[in-house]
């Protein structure tokens, strides 16, 4: 640890010593091309628009202007590395790669370079253990929370018992898709439901076998961990076999508008999790429209405002800017370094009053981050698609995951990582 600390300090020192422009640099590793462009574009639009809005409306944060550096990764790890290397020298405060592959790739690198990484609801779940992953944050929720929230939702639906129920998990056959399996297996043992796992290989254009199997076995519920074209095809195939859509629940990366619109009316009733609430009438969107879009600075084509992933990107930007403000408050300087940013993220506290003040009341759950817990509360809502109105409606309030199930898993996995990489757990 001492070596690492020294290295981190050295890097921080060089960054601080270098003549950095008095700006807060936020890199945006976006993907507007390639197989996942439909998901990457609105997220990145929301992320950038919020920072640009802060610049135009408030003159940055604490009097310090923000500079967003967009770098296209195309969801490709090698391009992600290039983007990371080309932006880190500019004094990047926090990375938000929105890709499991790039996240795994950046966890050791960013830790060594002393730059915080915010993997919001994706990436490495066990990074919630802040004592092992000092520089990685995955608040407000992670995949294991998501799996637990889904099961808790189903428990509530079924009078607190899933005994003898059959649940199928349709997952993207990759690191991302495999994340919830262990949690669901534990939960299945605990609650006595039967779990069927159905892997779908990338890209997921052809899922007939999987859905025929679902049709044969008639599970009570189907859960999905999908991304990209897999989502659209799965929703379509579920509609095709006449599976009751209200029993089909996707995770929060399988619940955007573009995932359901190609299936048309067939997608009506499909449910998904969300880690943030969506509401196209939030006051903050008006601010974005007046200060950013009307000034002609919209990221992308400006048509995504209010959509699920746009809202999530904006929410991510809000969490980052709140952490910046916190860091400025702790250290008493406006021009913060990545190390100060880390302190800010670790001390982040989000209250309902603050969110209301920011013009996005109730967009996320209340949570606070600590040295031990980088994962937030893990709350999630369940939303349902209304095909006629063409919008997602929140069905529930924030549902809590079962920490008794997820926490031991987080501890086990992070301990394994610490052992493999010779990390001594502890606060910085």
């Amino acid at each position: 640890m001492t070596m690492k600390k020294l290295a981190a300090l050295a890097v921080t020192a060089t960054i601080a010593a270098a003549p950095v422009m008095a700006e807060l640099v936020i890199p945006d590793l976006s993907y507007r091309t390639g197989p996942y462009a439909a998901g990457g574009t609105p997220f990145s639009d929301g992320y950038q628009d919020y920072f640009n809005m802060l610049n135009a409306r408030d003159g940055g944060i604490g009097g310090e202007m923000l500079r967003v550096l967009e770098c296209e990764t195309g969801y490709n790890t090698e391009k992600g590395v290039e983007c990371y290397e080309s932006t880190k020298g500019e004094g990047a405060l926090v990375y938000q790669p929105l890709s499991t592959g790039i996240t795994y790739q950046l966890i050791p690198k960013a830790t060594a370079d002393g730059i915080p990484l915010h993997t919001m609801g994706y990436g490495r779940t066990s990074a919630a253990n802040g004592e092992v992953f000092n520089w990685v944050f995955n608040y407000p929720a992670n995949y294991w929370d998501a799996a637990s929230v889904m099961v808790n939702y189903l428990l509530a639906e079924n009078g607190d018992s899933l005994e003898g129920k059959k649940i199928a998990l349709v997952y993207h056959n990759s690191a991302y898709g495999k994340e919830p399996i262990r949690t669901l297996e534990n939960l299945s043992a605990q609650h006595g439901f039967e779990l069927t796992q159905l892997a779908v290989d990338h890209p997921g254009q052809e899922q007939k076998s999987q859905w025929l199997q679902i049709r044969r076995e008639r599970p009570d519920y189907v859960l999905m961990w999908g991304w990209g074209v897999m989502n659209q095809v799965a929703v379509q195939e579920a509609a095709n076999i006449g599976f009751p859509m209200e029993n089909f629940i996707g995770n929060w990366w399988s619940g955007a508008e573009h995932d359901v619109t190609p299936a048309g009316a067939g997608a009506n009733g499909y449910k998904s999790l969300n880690m943030n609430r969506i509401d196209a009438n939030l006051p903050v969107f008006d601010d974005i429209k007046t200060h950013v879009h009307e000034a002609g600075n919209a990221a992308g084509d400006g048509t995504n405002v209010g959509k699920v992933l746009y809202t999530r990107g904006m929410y991510a930007a809000m969490l980052a800017s709140e952490a910046i403000a916190k860091a400025q408050e702790i250290h008493g300087v406006a021009d913060i370094t990545p190390a100060m940013m880390r302190d800010g993220m670790e001390a982040l506290e989000l209250t309902a009053a603050r969110m209301e003040e920011l013009g996005m009341a109730g967009v996320g759950p209340e949570f606070s981050v600590s040295c031990q817990d980088h994962g937030g509360t893990g709350l999630g809502i369940v939303q349902q698609w209304d095909a006629d109105a063409g919008q997602w409606n929140a069905l529930t309030d924030y549902i809590a995951p079962d920490d008794a199930v997820t926490l031991p898993l987080v501890m086990e996995d992070s301990a394994a990582f610490a052992a493999e990489n010779g990390i001594e757990a502890g606060c910085m």
Binding site: A38, S209, R216, E237, N240, G242
Partner: protein
């Protein structure tokens, strides 16, 4: 009849249907390979491009809108009209013909007589190029094709067959879209065969496929035939793009269906249209049956590689594929 057997039959039927979808893509490959010896990797991207163009034209989207807006600072997205489906299809076919001409004029005319692998590489270059142009023209968001194709399992077949098995048999599931695809494929193949047997240009096409030199010497224009073949492949790509795009929306991943067609080609032979159909059916049935019977034992998601392994096994016994022209080697 036992339920397990009935489900096996269901998997078989659906495998055949999936096979038809693969054949639709494979057909385009065969057309071009037969006439010009070019292994056209860009066929998948052509399907994407054709479907994007169709969706864009129908929606009245302005081509290159993003680029124009970025360069001139304008804010245009839509013409504000909607083009009826039939007219839009005709316009798209027109675009594909222009594309065929351009490909022939600017690329392959300069590559006549090159080694096959060079031609293959050129088509991969073409795939990149076309993908970039498609994105620039129509943007990279997901588009929905509103052609009104039927979707979903056929209730009628389900109800009719539900009584055949026990209580845990729910009747055969057959996707209406797949049935449409089958009919379309039959019409497409029949008309392609009729075209090549009974029309002047069709016969010229076959002559070129048999022997370039001989065809040239009887006054057939190779250039024209190749443009014709690329246009036909473009049309086949449009059909494949519509069928596949109806499932998933029109998006980038549509170009990856080329990878589903390659084992079909290996199995059926690169030069045979019936081969593409039969190969597609065998691959479709084979991979679905394998996933059904062996898949659960070894963790599933086997379809991608099993198709290739199946084709590989067949090739070891018949190196030119099931229907390919026999490879005669002389020293």
């Amino acid at each position: 009849m036992s339920t397990d057997f009935l489900y096996l039959v269901e998997v078989l039927i659906n495998g055949l249907m999936a096979g038809v979808m693969y054949s639709l893509v494979a057909l385009g490959f065969v057309l071009i390979f037969k006439a010009s010896g070019i292994f056209n990797y860009a066929q998948g991207v052509m399907a994407l491009f054709a479907a994007l163009t169709l969706a864009g034209v129908m929606e009245g989207q302005v081509p290159f809108a993003h680029l124009i807006n970025a360069v001139f600072g304008t804010e245009i997205h839509h013409f504000g009209w909607h083009v009826p489906a039939l007219l839009a299809i005709l316009l798209t076919v027109g675009v594909m013909v222009i594309f065929a001409w351009a490909v022939q004029r600017f690329v392959f005319r300069h590559l006549v007589g090159q080694e096959p692998i060079i031609l293959f590489m050129a088509t991969i270059g073409l795939a990149y190029f076309l993908e970039g142009v498609g994105d620039l023209m129509w943007g990279s968001d997901i588009k929905t094709l509103a052609l009104g194709l039927p979707q979903g399992g056929s209730r009628w077949i389900e109800d009719m067959t539900a009584g055949m098995g026990g209580d845990d048999f729910y009747g055969f599931f057959i996707d209406k879209l797949d049935m449409v695809a089958t009919v379309v494929a039959i019409i497409l193949v029949a008309s392609l065969i009729a075209f090549s047997q009974y029309t002047k240009h069709g016969r010229a096409m076959r002559a070129v496929a048999d022997d370039h030199q001989a065809a040239l010497s009887v006054g057939i224009s190779l250039n024209f035939i190749w443009i014709l073949v690329w246009s036909l492949a473009g049309f086949v790509a449009l059909v494949a793009g519509i069928m596949w795009g109806a499932k998933s929306g029109v998006q980038f991943s549509l170009s990856l269906i080329a990878l589903k067609a390659l084992p079909v080609l290996m199995l059926g032979g690169f030069t045979s249209i019936p081969g593409a159909i039969v190969g597609g059916l065998i691959i479709g049935v084979g991979e679905k049956l394998f996933e059904f019977s062996v898949g659960p034992l070894i963790g599933g998601a086997t379809e991608n590689w099993f198709a290739y392994v199946l084709a590989l096994v067949v090739l070891v016994f018949r190196p030119q594929g099931l229907f390919g022209e026999k490879i005669i080697e002389r020293v």
